[in-house]
Symmetry: C2
Subunit: 332 residues, 2 copies
DNA sequence: TTTTGATTTGCAACCGGTTGCAATGCTTTA
DNA sequence: TAAAGCATTGCAACCGGTTGCAAATCAAAA
């Protein structure tokens, strides 16, 4: 029933090697042989077995794509980009959902069993140790949206979250907001910590401190809404930097509901420029990351790792940009 | 460098078969041998090579997951469910993005090359022919969110879109909206056609016809917003059924912006109950599909197909439910 | 102690490809 | 026409597992 290379060889009247070679880029086959083989293959409906090839070449073309964030709509774009870009290079994403169980041990084992050629860990909330676990198992890893580390042990592609925090503080100050608050994502996420750090450092240079620091429990509207209520109960803030747009939208809704006039009484800025932020009901000013560039660069890096797995760990950081909408005052 | 089963066998002082058997569910090995093998494997850091196993058993545990909708946030939940459910059964999702190129031919070829055990086609917008293409290539297929077909050639798990359309019409009529409009998703999507059909049929039983039928070009807020403007320019409608929540939110925003009072002057209902619909800014009444049940059932079906690939094509339909929020009047 | 039957084990072939190497065929140059 | 050089081909071993079959082991029954 299943057609193998031997069947094609017999039908074409050539050796198995000849068939194999016509399916191998740059192998030595004459045009005559090649066309005989192609003809026979067509007639029999032959499809080469990549599993068998992988066994022989110890290259699977499989890339582990590890994700734990199936809640933030921003990740759809990430997933879209990765699947497309990998497909274009003839690589196949083997998707791993790390939501249930943030301990990577099982996933490491599984991806090793499948002999994936490399792993992309795409998450800003997983601890750096997670990506490192894949590396220790001998798998080439790229950690996308991971933490910037001046002496990295793992390849990182993403943004400088600390700088992003600084940028937010500068933008708010430039618009003459005085009493600034930070409404972050989950406290343990390194991206949250880094953004807060940058935010605080920049305030310090102006002899200021954040008036309030609050964390949302998840990356969700409800969490942002709740955290904003908590913040407003305790402190008076006139400029707010939110750790993610989805949180920012919850916060914005809570503020408006409480009768706060945005952007005059309070400026609110988000992070990530997700689609919903542009909706008429919100028009949230935000900072955008160049998602497509980041993913593209990550896939390029994976490509180079396939050639040279031992390449020393590299960090690739991309700049963020302010997207002006209507929840911040204009510049003076 | 790489540890194989032969290395383990030598170290444990047993045959290769013995090692293989200790890693095979239900194979005949004595406890003594098994523990010798386990010990040796641990010491050497052995990980069985699933690629090699796949070649021998012609079972890869790989499931092709074909998706073309990386724009609708509702699909994140679908993806989350599938990855989790497959993982729980020790199956691995090989993700295929069909967005660029809706012609399935290449993907069919690729999934055949990897000898995936089955394929899940998850889309309400791909034509039925797409799922059928996988079937013709000899791959077991489950089409999730596909079209109901009384004599199906492919397994379908999803909802009865025609009935959903009827349901929408009944709900609007019961709330004494008189002049009903349909704002569908892309016209060529079978789900749109089926919902319109059900909607129209039910109106007919009340001697009515849709006052307006308009299609959004994509499943997006902007497309919904635009389509709603177009609709309002031409027709006067007081009850509107939208083909998807994301479209519905665009339409709702357009209506409110035009000064229409929702739900008194106009009732608007969406479809899919996505997260954003519950946000305070919208509170869109909508119809929800039981996503988790659908995905669960689809994965169960895949499980049975692995046992018996020739199982005759089956359709599994789940009921939808109205989610009352505030864009529809109450019952009289 | 011998026989019987069930369990456990190892041998060797196989899954479907790839690839180094030596042999063959062909063209080019002297 | 013979020798040299290159491209093409086939052989056979290998990738890392699984599995049918027969032999070996073991415990229980006679």
């Amino acid at each position: 029933m299943i057609i193998t290379l031997a069947d094609v060889a017999k039908r074409a009247g050539v050796s198995r090697s000849a068939v194999s070679r016509t399916y191998t880029e740059g192998a030595s086959v004459s045009d005559k042989t090649r066309s005989k083989v192609m003809k026979a293959a067509k007639e029999l409906g032959y499809t080469p077995n990549i599993i068998a090839r992988s066994l022989a070449t110890s290259r699977t073309q499989l890339i582990g794509l590890v994700i734990n964030n199936f809640h933030n709509p921003a990740f759809l774009e990430v997933l879209d980009q990765f699947t497309r870009l990998l497909q274009n290079r003839n690589l196949r994403p083997l998707l791993v959902n790390l939501s249930d169980n943030p301990d990577p041990a099982d996933s490491v084992e599984m991806l090793r069993q499948y002999r994936v050629d490399a792993v992309i860990v795409a998450s800003s909330t997983l601890p750096p140790a997670c990506a490192a676990a894949f590396k220790q198992a001998g798998l080439p890893v790229v950690n996308v949206f991971g933490r910037y580390n001046p002496s990295p042990d793992v390849h990182v592609v993403g943004i400088d979250n600390r700088h992003a925090g600084s940028m937010a503080a500068e933008i708010l100050l430039a618009r003459r907001y005085k009493s600034l608050g930070f409404l972050g994502g989950p406290e343990k996420a390194t991206s949250t910590q880094d953004r807060l750090r940058g935010f605080t450092d920049t305030l310090k240079t102006a002899n200021l401190k954040p008036t309030a620091v609050v964390y949302a429990e998840h990356y969700s509207y409800d969490a942002g809404y709740k955290a904003m209520h908590k913040l407003m109960r305790n402190k008076r803030v006139d400029g707010l930097f939110c750790g993610d747009d989805v949180i920012g939208l919850g916060a914005l809704s809570a503020a408006r509901e409480a009768g706060v006039c945005v952007p005059d009484e309070m400026g609110i800025m988000g992070f990530n420029n997700m689609e919903m932020s542009a909706w008429h009901a919100f028009e949230l000013s935000t900072i955008s990351q160049p998602i497509a560039d980041i993913c593209g660069s990550a896939v390029d890096l994976v490509g180079s790792l396939l050639e040279n797995p031992e390449r020393s760990a590299e960090t690739r950081l991309f700049p963020c940009a302010l997207v002006e909408r209507s929840t911040l005052r204009g510049m003076p």
